[in-house]
Symmetry: D3
């Protein structure tokens, strides 16, 4: 029973984004029901005295990390690139109560990269971020895998 | 084989909205992956010489009505109430290429009502709009039924 | 606890069909993963001595009716209209081990009507067929409701 | 925009149950991931000064009713009929921290009936319980509809 | 056409479990609709004379292994750790017709490990167990991968 | 933000097939609603002046490749092996407008292999086919991974 196991939990959130300078319909503000799948890996605790016996991580702990770092920030928000000219960016911030300014184009690919960095640095020891899958629509998603990006994390 | 049959087709689209004056997180612009289920009712054609034999309506025809009236208008857009003060509304229109101004609060309930009116007036004779279901998130939706609203359509 | 309750069970099956004389791509033989939802209605048995206490119908009984009448006949078959000229129909039967000849155009609408007749006549007393929903693709389906077709069943 | 609209929200919970005296495998304690769909009906508020403008009911309010009456009681519990002999029932209560004793056979049909009573009496005025759908497995569910049970609620 | 292909089949089952000594709500007996995805890998048979031509394994054979080793044992059962004191364990066995005693804490992580061992030893030659995915709820699952556990199987 | 990211898009199509010489029900022509998931991998473009900034590949480009190579060919078709005797094969072609003759047994395993070859040779430079997943029914699928087949592509 000392196997290495991968454990995944799904987190939905509702967000709008806009792709600056893009030549398709995503250059307009529009929204998606995002679904983030967080996969961590580790060896389940094998210790009868430990209340977390048999778990890689208690889901309650994983949930509180992902909710604090990702869901509470991005849910019901608009994500806008800092590369927008300042006047336009200020208009965004004034119009919307909850604007998140990021220093990259907020595509699904770049968001999942950024989320990987934000989650992995908060995991407890013995638990590793294996991968993230971010659905942008019901039939398309981007994935970040630790094994594809060994130097960057 | 002269039964009355209900036929449904699903249409997904990606939209942002903002609820003016609301006291929850939806007062910020945010987005959803909407899924609209359009249900029409009628008797399948029973005529061997008709290429649409056995169908209530050819899906190709239903799709072109719903795409023209709803999907092409609301997909990749932000929906904003005309009750916003004019200056703020103009800012919306300037910032976003594709802003749809509606004369109601764009909740899921009001959107589905408005869509029912827009679709039902374009259906061919012999075909009736039975109901619409509009998912706003993966686990919540609003529905309009003709039988609940007999006078209004 | 003497409520009237509707109970539904889903039955998947894999079938091919061809629409004779149709003017779209469905005039070619092609296939679908059909999903049939059978909804019956009745009052749950309220009798402690009855092993089916609390049930409208034992799912095992509903399953054996639907499997015998529908799934065992249509799963892994091709459905062809008897309106095809005899020579072509014979070719179908020779080429395919499992061809089902029906006296109607096998659209989703007509299939669900036919299935309603076939299932409703085998239900035990006290249990009524309420409706059938037949998914032809992941995002389109036809439905038959008893309340829409009171005379015909 | 004075339409009558139906609004639905899904609530998942994890429960075990046992069917006393049943003659199939459900006579053993076993569990399901239940999914309860609560549908209410009403006219969306049409009052610009009301923060709930455009809503039949604020989802936050619906959620707090269903969580308090159903989810907090039945999630992570075992449901057992009071018709069990007292000694066996006491053993259940001793063995499991969270046993819910109900005065009926806890089939999906009876549970959905009971939930309808528990939810409908707590809805605010102007909002009516339209129906409940309770999935017991991924492909079977029971439904309670107000229109089928007009006298009982 | 001599590619290496991974083939997956899903198996649902309904089970209750209890986590001895855990400090959250799972210390009570409760249930889930589990969904087990079994992925095997191999090279499809390339032999016209073989009725299994083009298959890595006939799904009928894979199904009979997984049904015999897993589904028939765990479906409609309660899983309990042998670490419970004997008197309490005996009560479980007396109360429930179908109790499975395992020598580990029955978390999703440990169950998927145990299932990997049970399935892999029964696969025919030429077919390897690649991975197992076990959904415990609709939005969380554990996975075992052969590549993560090369020594242990 | 120079991560390697995997990007996936789902493509549904409706197809019939027949397994020559098979000893189960698939030896009859029958159909499925296939769902093909195409996963490509690469580094998102990091160039403010490029309208595709932040994307590995524009979904519009990926869609046009997969639609041209796969969906437009196989949707609403019957797939038949060239190993059938010529007379029978000619009958197929005569009976069905859209018959695709392939030089292998059209199992899900062989189809996914063939699709991998057809898609990978058309991807633009900087983008690699990572894997394909092909659902044949709602609960079974075959997958091709580049890492499992390094020499063959």
């Amino acid at each position: 029973m000392a196997s290495i196991i991968r454990v995944t939990k799904e987190f939905p959130f509702e967000m709008a984004h806009v792709l600056w300078n893009y030549d398709g319909p995503c250059r307009n503000v529009h929204g998606h029901s995002y679904r983030l799948f967080v996969t961590i890996t580790g060896t389940p605790i094998d210790d009868q005295g430990n209340p977390k016996n048999g778990m890689v991580i208690d889901f309650t702990d994983l949930k509180s990390i992902v909710k604090r770092e990702i869901v509470s920030v991005y849910d019901h928000s608009v994500v806008v690139s800092s590369r927008y000219e300042k006047a336009k960016r200020d208009q965004f911030v004034n119009l919307f109560g909850n604007t998140v300014i990021v220093d990259y184009q907020p595509t699904c690919e770049n968001l999942v990269s950024d989320f990987a960095e934000k989650i992995s640095r908060h995991l407890p020891s013995g638990v590793t971020l294996h991968s993230l899958k971010l659905y942008e629509t019901a039939n398309s998603f981007a994935e970040w895998f630790a094994e594809d990006n060994k130097r960057s994390t």
